[in-house]
């Protein structure tokens, strides 16, 4: 793999040198071409080292102990929260550590259903109570993580699920739905994990505000790939995962405006989230502790802090520029292959760096197999966005997705692989 200076100005040779896994080979000795960063990204040495240093020198249960190790571990854990807060334009106490974005979205959904059972709750939580007639709004392009929790919330509260449809180029169709006075939540992906379309956040926030609904942003595919300021976006909640942004698995973040977190009943309960416990009943600590029951993912938070350092040193604007460049190359080269159809916007306006496509006459699984045989790792299937695929009348797409270590040369191999697949299957 020759890793040259990228047009975006990134020193790719240096960056790639930080990621040990990128130098391995797969199948019969082929260099790994990892185009599956949308599923999970790889980790640089700096993240691995930060976690290891923490574990070899400071590891202890945080927010519990009074000995020196416990102090140091707590400091490191909270320092990571502060770093992440800075990255996304939030206050540290607005961030809750979760195991992944999925848990973050579920946390919000369960806060609503827990608040809907009013016994024993303070009046504050009333604004989260739902009932028949209330509406939760999502979109048809959502990842299952931002759809199924809302379906289940509706099941539990008898609220109604409604959704925006999708345009032919894979964007949220703003004309397909009118919010109503009964709309309580509008939840959508900042960037689609399939079409890479970037949502019109300002417009959706405006509409939600107009009817007094809360906005939940699935920021899984935005925070890792572009500059995001959650306060400026004006959303109420946002969720993202560490493993997609060069950080560890097992850690994610839920952002919530202080005023809202303050008013929400807890989700997962247990140690370290309490104020006072009696057998007869308990009261709970202020956020973010209220939502971090049990011994947390300590070293993982520290690792995520190191990932934020790594990304910040590069600059999220340059990360975004680099990925747009990669998307341009992917769209250009795939566009020259007959029989390839892009699922998603075909130009770079309001679009991130993943490219999903189908190949006429060759099933995505078969295309993926041919690519895999050449060392190119892509994802095939519905990518946890089944309704989106159904909307386009297809079962599965091939998705290539990138991160800061991906090179133009790697992306160019996609089109070659697709041609090879067409040849192999005789179409």
């Amino acid at each position: 793999m020759t890793a040259v200076q990228a047009p975006s100005g990134l020193d790719l040779a240096a960056i790639r040198g930080d990621f040990p896994i990128l130098s391995r080979t797969v199948r019969e000795g082929r260099p790994l071409v990892y185009l599956d960063s949308g599923a999970t990204s790889q980790r640089p040495r700096q993240v691995l080292d930060a976690e290891r240093t923490f574990l070899e020198t400071h590891n202890a249960a945080v927010h519990r102990g009074a000995h020196q190790l416990a102090e140091e571990a707590t400091d490191d854990y909270e320092a990571a929260r502060a770093k992440i807060a800075l990255l996304v334009g939030a206050e540290p106490e607005e961030l809750v550590f979760t195991k992944n974005a999925t848990e973050g979205i579920n946390l919000v959904a369960y806060a609503f259903s827990n608040a809907s059972i009013r016994t024993g709750l303070s009046a504050d939580s009333e604004r989260f109570a739902l009932g028949p007639g209330d509406e939760i709004v999502v979109t048809e392009l959502e990842h299952h993580a931002n759809l199924v929790p809302w379906q289940e919330l509706c099941r539990r509260t008898e609220a109604t699920l409604r959704w925006y449809g999708i345009t032919d180029d894979g964007r949220i169709d703003l004309d397909s739905l009118e919010l109503s006075e009964r709309t309580r939540v509008v939840a959508f992906a900042h960037q689609s994990n399939v079409t890479a379309a970037i949502a019109p956040v300002a417009e959706l926030v405006r509409r939600a505000r107009e009817v007094g609904a809360l906005v939940v942003l699935d920021a899984c595919q935005s925070v890792p790939h572009m500059p995001v300021n959650l306060t400026e976006l004006g959303v109420d909640f946002a969720a993202f995962s560490g493993h997609k942004m060069l950080g560890p698995s097992g850690v994610g973040v839920l952002y919530g405006r202080t005023e809202l977190l303050d008013a929400m009943p807890p989700f997962i309960t247990g140690g370290s989230m309490i104020e006072m416990v009696r057998m007869e009943g308990s009261t709970y600590a202020p956020p973010p502790q209220r939502f971090e029951a049990g011994v947390p993912m300590t070293s993982q938070a520290v690792g995520l802090g190191a990932a934020v350092d790594y990304l910040s040193a590069i600059g999220m604007d340059r990360v975004f520029a680099h990925e747009q460049e990669l998307a341009r190359v992917a769209l250009d080269t795939l566009g020259q292959v007959e029989g390839v159809r892009i699922v998603g916007p075909s130009d770079l306006t309001d679009r991130g760096g993943a490219v999903a496509f189908v190949v006429d006459g060759v099933h995505a699984h078969d295309v993926g197999q041919v690519l895999d045989d050449r060392g190119v790792a892509v994802r095939v299937g519905h990518h946890c966005a089944w309704p989106l695929h159904r909307r386009f009348g297809i079962a599965a797409t091939v998705r290539a997705s990138f991160h800061v270590y991906t090179t133009v040369e790697e992306v160019a191999q996609l089109a070659d692989g697709v041609r090879a697949a067409q040849k192999f299957f005789g179409v």
């Binding site: 199948r27 019969e28 099933h363 995505a364 699984h365 078969d366 197999q369 041919v370 045989d373 095939v380 299937g381 519905h382 089944w386 695929h389 079962a395 599965a396 192999f424 299957f425 005789g426």
Partner: protein, 148 residues
């Protein structure tokens, strides 16, 4: 190229010209199976004649492996007794899930042994078994209805 080991000519032949495709009447049970990771689907009908498999018809949406294996299935089980068909199924399944360790017995699973290469790719094993599981399920349903 490991590709040719996986996509043996027999598989590609069945994929291009699937045997027994299409949904036919009459039938005793119909099942619909889905591979939740990729959304591939098969709708499959079984017609028994006493204790033997009279017809298997199907409509499928899926990759070459799942289509070819369903095609091979029909070749192998139609005309056999249910007992015999299930023995074939078990043998095929054992091979498919063996991670390349069980080569498969050609006397039992015929063209099915072409799928031995697939068994080395765990993510594709479900593709190879999609039609077979739908068949198993359909037969079980017929039998259940008979006894109830």
């Amino acid at each position: 190229m490991q590709l040719e080991q996986m996509y043996q000519e027999i598989i590609l032949d069945h994929y291009r010209q699937p045997h027994g495709a299409g949904l036919r009447d009459p039938y005793d049970a119909e099942t619909h199976h889905i591979n939740p990771t990729c959304g591939d689907e098969v709708t499959l009908r079984v017609k028994l004649d006493g204790d033997s498999v009279q017809d298997v018809s199907y409509e499928s949406l899926g990759c070459s492996i799942s289509q070819a294996s369903t095609s091979v299935l029909t070749d192998l089980v139609v005309g056999k007794s249910v007992e015999e068909a299930f023995r074939i199924l078990e043998s095929f399944q054992e091979m498919a899930q063996s991670r390349g360790k069980v080569p498969g017995d050609e006397d039992v699973i015929g063209d099915g042994i072409a799928f031995a290469g697939v068994s080395k790719y765990p993510a594709r094993v479900k593709c190879a078994l999609l039609g077979w599981m739908a068949f198993k399920d359909a037969v079980v349903r017929v039998k259940e209805e008979e006894t109830s």
